[in-house]
């Protein structure tokens, strides 16, 4: 729809004015957010809604009771973990129905239920990644078998792990990341209006119910091959959770659109707000081998000298992306590589080298030497 507005509002000259409109607030009411899956333990978060013009961030509730029960069994009380979180060490199972309840003396009780879907049969995946004009063009194709008996709601997402050397603690650390997926497929596009990138891409099985299907995505700008590890997940979502995600996107899309009727987000919490959903996922996980530095040809040297670094996992292919620094927080360039063989790399000590650990990054995997390299002035 965006395209129409772009054409239609060519004539738009906008002009702003603050106005006073009396909007009543009949809250606050309980808000519960919990999306469970068979791979993770239960977690739920409880908060209160706020008046629309109220600027304070949401108010999380720790002194309430939150319980989950499998249909026909005894309820299980989750324990408060602070910041409105309630957790337990149990996990749900695919195909079973669960009910969640939250109770607070002050704000009453709310409840919701959902059935955990079965995972999709991921058959194959393909990642094509090329560098053009210093920009990665990455394509992902997922092939899976759709279950003909049920209406399936899918979410495809890619998450990754970055490794980096923390100069303050002198340790290699990892941090998680998400890849923004898009699709050229117009059917998928129309399902994802306004949806945030870390929610992956939503799609339904209407055009391929019961068939083997290949869905194509793009992750432009990201290099998966040069990341420490990445996981491609294909999730099957409950209908409520899918609609929650979809209507959150629609609300986002309609917000600021003068012609659209505002959209209320799908809410499956009785007497309150929020979402109780579930998913199952099948994943493909890829991890690059971690290089290990065993020794240097010399423990010290002048800038411009050559030094050979010995270790393991130094050579996967010609196209490896290698980045070597000599304790160089401020270095924007890798040290120049003179030669590389299986188990050894010969580099030139850079002009801005400082005494410290040598750090090697091969295809996103980072390792630092145990000992320091002395730079002689």
């Amino acid at each position: 729809m965006k395209k129409y507005w772009a054409f239609g509002l060519l004539l738009l000259f906008s002009c702003e004015l603050v106005v006073d409109i009396d909007v009543p607030f009949d809250g606050p009411s309980l808000t519960l957010n919990s999306v469970v899956n068979p791979d993770s333990t239960y977690a739920a978060r409880l908060s209160l809604n706020r008046y629309i013009l109220d600027d304070t961030t949401s108010f999380f509730l720790d002194n309430a009771q939150v319980s989950i029960e499998e249909l026909g069994k005894d309820p299980y009380l989750l324990s408060p973990a602070g910041d409105g979180f309630y957790t337990s060490d149990l996990k749900p199972e695919a195909g079973k129905t669960y009910r969640i309840r939250a109770f607070s003396e002050k704000y009453g009780s709310i409840e919701a239920s959902c059935t955990v879907p079965f995972p999709a049969g991921l058959i194959d995946h393909k990642v094509i990644e090329k560098l053009f004009n210093h920009q990665y063009e990455t394509k992902i194709a997922l092939t899976f078998q759709d279950d003909a008996d049920v209406e399936n709601f899918y979410q495809a997402l890619v998450y990754l792990e970055h490794e980096w050397f923390d100069y303050q603690t002198q340790k290699v650390r990892t941090s998680p990341g998400f890849v923004m997926l898009t699709s050229d497929d117009p059917i998928i596009k129309s399902e994802n209006e306004g949806i945030d990138y870390f929610h992956g891409v939503l799609f339904k099985d209407v055009f391929f119910n019961g068939k083997k299907h290949t869905a194509n995505f793009r992750a432009n700008g990201f290099s998966l091959e040069n990341t420490a590890s990445y996981t491609i997940a294909l999730r099957t979502l409950t209908k409520d959770y899918y609609q929650y995600r979809f209507t959150v996107g629609l609300q986002e899309e309609a917000s600021g659109d003068p012609f659209a009727q505002p959209v209320n987000v799908r809410n499956n919490i009785e007497n309150g707000f929020g979402v109780f959903g579930a998913y199952s996922q099948s994943v493909y996980h890829h991890s690059n081998p971690k290089p290990v530095i065993t020794s240097f040809s010399t423990d010290s040297g002048k800038r411009g000298d050559e030094v050979t670094i010995y270790g393991e996992n130094f050579f996967a292919s010609e196209s490896d992306r290698i980045w070597i620094t000599f304790h160089a927080e401020r270095y924007l360039q890798s040290a120049q590589i003179v030669d590389r063989k299986r188990g050894e790399i010969r580099v030139v000590v850079p002009t801005m080298a400082v005494t410290g650990k040598i750090v090697i990054n091969i295809n996103g995997r980072v390792t630092a030497s145990e000992t320091e390299f002395q730079v002689i002035n």
Binding site: L11, S14, C15, V18, F25, N33, N49, F198, N264
Partner: protein
């Protein structure tokens, strides 16, 4: 046809040997253009009649000397008097008084507002439409209709019509008797009717005569010009958005004539080469619309005349981008294309036949189609020395409606105290309610969506405008209709009555009642006449919409200069449809019938209208006090909510001042209570589900009652000035318009956002500031 015969049998025959009939066609002198609604008045018997849509009139008089006055607003009257022996034909041409201000232009008393049984009916002279100020110089018939009491415009700048609380789908828009399904260009900002090709515009808001049916809220009856019978003439204008050209003239002098009128926007012509050059041919984008109206007519003889008229108009938008990336061994080449087009095509063939001087008939065959298509195509080719892979997607969404119709209408005027109309219509509809063709390299070609639906709609009607005595006149009629889709059959009997009672010669009381049934529905997301709006028929799940409107009013003719009317009305609408919350035309996997909610609505209020049609200062003042609301079981928790365009108070002033024959100053001022809007009441935390935890909170907004808040009042002044100059080659006029002359920040949309100090507030956004524009018009 049973009803027609029944109606015929009921006609009381007043025609006796002592009487004879004068009949004929009234036209405009110099062009031969038909004058619709011209009056014929016999001062001796104080009886009269008016010409119908084809200029035909008939008046039966005693065989005696008589003195007939023929008059039409803005034209010199003509008097004809002689002794009547036999039925006589008088075809008369009236002279335009436009340039002859000193001549007193009289109108006969008969067709004055207080005498007519009609209620809620307004004629707007095309000359007045052209004289009023126009946004960006685009003369727009619908934008002038929006200036009438009881009619709301919807969003600012849009050409939508909301008549007495009804939606834009409840308007029967007829162009030469053919329904036009989507009357908007440029996403609803401009209506499709080109004022240069129009002879007559009539709006009916209530007290519907039995001859109209099929929609709940209004009839907008537009008659195209027939073309100058005497000489070739041209008319046109060059404006900021579009330019128009109209050519008309005789084919065989006084026997047949033609008119062709075209309009097109030309921004795309200017920008296309620039975009191409700037992006080195990689990007292309354009938008344009055009209209074409054409009509020919032929007088076979005194009694037979045939017409062919057609309208076609399309809006087209297109965007394309190409990209290519390559390195030593690989190459990716792709193209993305998007195109959107929508448009109407209508055609009518009609035959006027005068059976006798008292019986006039018209047979019309009509064709109308509206079509939307939204296409997207993306193709990418990946090539390496060993392989070549193509990723390809194609979608084409089409929706539309197509009608074939046949209509027969009779006007039978047995005596001055009766004016009988009867006839029937049959229409075959074909609905294409949203079909999506989809193709990709791995799914092959798939088509999804609701299947085509064939429906038939039939109607018959009979009405008589009866003068029971000098004071009491009644227009009573019945409209009966039926609708067939698949195995569903619906029918309805719709009684229509409207009466007037003369208190004195200048003042009358009026009352009317009309039931209406609408078998076809419009599914719309935003209600501003977007091309994606979808026409659908009644089915077994979706019942026909029904309404009744009752009104009570008074009409006063003040000093033969001002027509004043006050009308109170109550309208009830049932089985209205609306999309469910969050539903969208794009969710094609669900049948449209499952995406719809059904509910009811009501509207009531009172309208004051003061119109002055002639003199140096002409125009009108209108005021409406009204309430409109809707109730849907699954929208707003079943609670009644105000209609988006519910306006408590609405004031319109439209005046034009012609102090010299070639100078015209006009102004319009509108005031309306703010539109009803939905605003969020509260916000709650969104489930993010990211591995960082829910750290940075996002919020979901919760909307309480629908349309439960009001924007600020809307008011605006527009000023127009037209100066006309006679040139050697013809006539040229300059039209200058000022839109929103005192630069009022009118509310267009309200959102919650942060003000300059960073506090959360409701912020109003406005659309059009003061906009000056100019257009040059010419005529020769």
């Amino acid at each position: 046809m049973k009803h027609v015969f029944l109606a015929l049998l009921l006609i009381p025959f007043f025609v006796s040997a002592q009487r004879a009939t004068v009949s004929g066609i009234i036209t405009q002198k110099g062009s031969g253009e038909t004058l619709i609604g011209a009056s014929v008045y016999n001062s001796k018997t104080k009886q009269g009649t008016t010409s119908n849509h084809y200029g035909f009139y008939s008046i039966t008089l005693p065989r005696d000397s008589f003195n007939l006055t023929f008059s039409y607003v803005g034209y010199k009257s003509a008097h004809v008097g002689f002794r009547l022996h036999n039925d006589t034909t008088i075809n008369l041409a009236l002279e335009d008084a436009g340039m002859l201000q000193e001549v007193e232009v009289t109108a006969s008393p008969e067709e004055e507002i207080q005498h007519s049984t009609r209620m809620g009916t307004i004629d707007v002279p095309v000359a007045q439409i052209k004289a009023l100020p126009a946004l960006l110089g685009e003369i727009d018939v619908f934008k002038v209709l929006q200036l009438l009491p009881g009619v709301q415009s919807g969003a600012e700048g849009s050409s939508g019509l909301y008549v007495r609380g009804g939606g834009p789908d409840q308007n029967l828009i007829l162009l030469d008797g053919v329904p036009v399904y989507n009357a908007s260009h440029l996403f609803g900002f401009i209506s499709v009717f080109n004022a240069d090709a129009i002879n007559h515009v009539e709006l009916i808001k209530g007290g519907f005569p039995a001859r109209y049916g099929g929609r709940l809220s209004s009839v907008i009856d537009i008659t195209m010009k027939e073309g100058n019978q005497e000489k070739i003439s041209c008319e046109g204008s060059i404006g900021l958005i579009s330019s128009r050209l109209t050519v008309e003239g005789p084919i065989v002098k006084n026997k047949s004539s033609f008119i062709v009128s075209a309009r097109r926007t030309y921004l795309d012509v200017l920008t296309r080469p620039i975009i191409k050059k700037v992006t080195k041919g990689e990007e292309a984008a354009w938008y344009y619309f055009y209209d074409l109206n054409a009509k020919v007519n032929y007088h076979l003889n005194e009694r037979n005349r045939v017409f062919l008229s057609t309208y076609t108009g399309d809006d087209k938008a297109f965007a394309r981008s190409r990209y290519k990336s390559e390195n030593e061994i690989e190459q990716w080449v792709g193209t993305d294309e998007f195109d959107l087009k929508w448009g109407n095509f209508t055609a009518a063939a009609r035959w006027n036949h005068i059976f006798t001087s008292r019986l006039f008939s018209n047979v019309t065959a009509t064709y109308s189609r509206y079509r939307l298509s939204v296409g997207a195509e993306s193709r990418e080719v990946y090539t390496t020395p060993d392989t070549s892979q193509v990723i390809y997607y194609f979608t084409d969404y089409t929706s539309g409606i197509r009608d074939f119709g046949l209509k027969v209408d009779f006007d039978f005027i047995p005596a001055p105290s009766h004016y009988i109309r009867f006839g029937g219509q049959a229409v075959a509809h074909l609905f294409t309610p949203g079909v999506l063709a989809y193709k990709s390299e791995n799914t092959g070609h798939t088509t999804m969506g609701s299947p085509d639906l064939h429906s038939k709609e039939f109607s018959v009607y009979a009405e008589d405008d009866i003068a029971l005595d000098r004071k009491l006149k009644v227009n009573a009629g019945l409209h009966a209709s039926a609708f067939v889709t698949d195995n569903n059959f619906y029918y309805s009997l719709q009684p229509r009555i409207s009466t007037r009672y003369l208190l004195n010669n200048d003042l009358s009381l009026k009352a009317s009642y009309a039931r209406m049934t609408q078998y076809i529905h419009l599914l719309t997301n935003v209600g501003i006449g977007l091309p994606t709006d979808l026409w659908v028929p009644s089915t077994d799940q979706i019942k026909p919409e029904e309404s009744f409107i009752a009104s009570l009013g008074t009409a006063l003719n003040f000093k033969s200069a001002f027509e004043i009317s006050v009308e109170a009305y109550y309208k009830s609408m049932e089985k209205l449809i609306e999309y469910k919350e969050g539903a969208n035309y794009l969710n094609i996997e669900e049948d449209w019938q499952t995406k719809v909610e059904s509910g009811k609505g009501e509207s009531y209020g009172s309208e004051l209208f003061i119109q002055k049609k002639k003199g140096k200062v002409s125009g009108w003042v209108g005021y409406t006090l009204s309430w409109t609301n809707r109730t849907f079981q699954n929208i707003n928790e079943g609670k009644t909510f105000p209609f988006r365009y519910d306006r408590r108070h609405d004031v319109e002033v439209a005046l034009s001042y012609k102090w010299k024959p070639n100078r015209d100053l006009s102004m319009t001022w509108v005031y309306g209570t703010g539109a009803a809007i939905s605003l969020p009441q509260s916000a709650y935390t969104e489930y993010i589900g990211s591995p960082w935890g829910d750290g940075d909170q996002s919020f979901i907004e919760y909307y309480g009652g629908r349309n439960s808040y009001r924007m600020r009042a809307y008011h605006r002044l527009d000023i127009g000035y037209t100066s006309t100059k006679k040139k050697r080659w013809g006539e040229r006029s300059w039209n200058l318009s000022l839109y929103n002359a005192y630069n009022r920040k009118n509310p267009f949309f309200v959102d919650n956002a942060r003000d300059e100090k960073g506090h959360k507030k409701f912020i109003q956004y406005s659309l059009f500031p003061l906009i000056p524009s100019a257009a040059c018009r010419f005529k020769f």
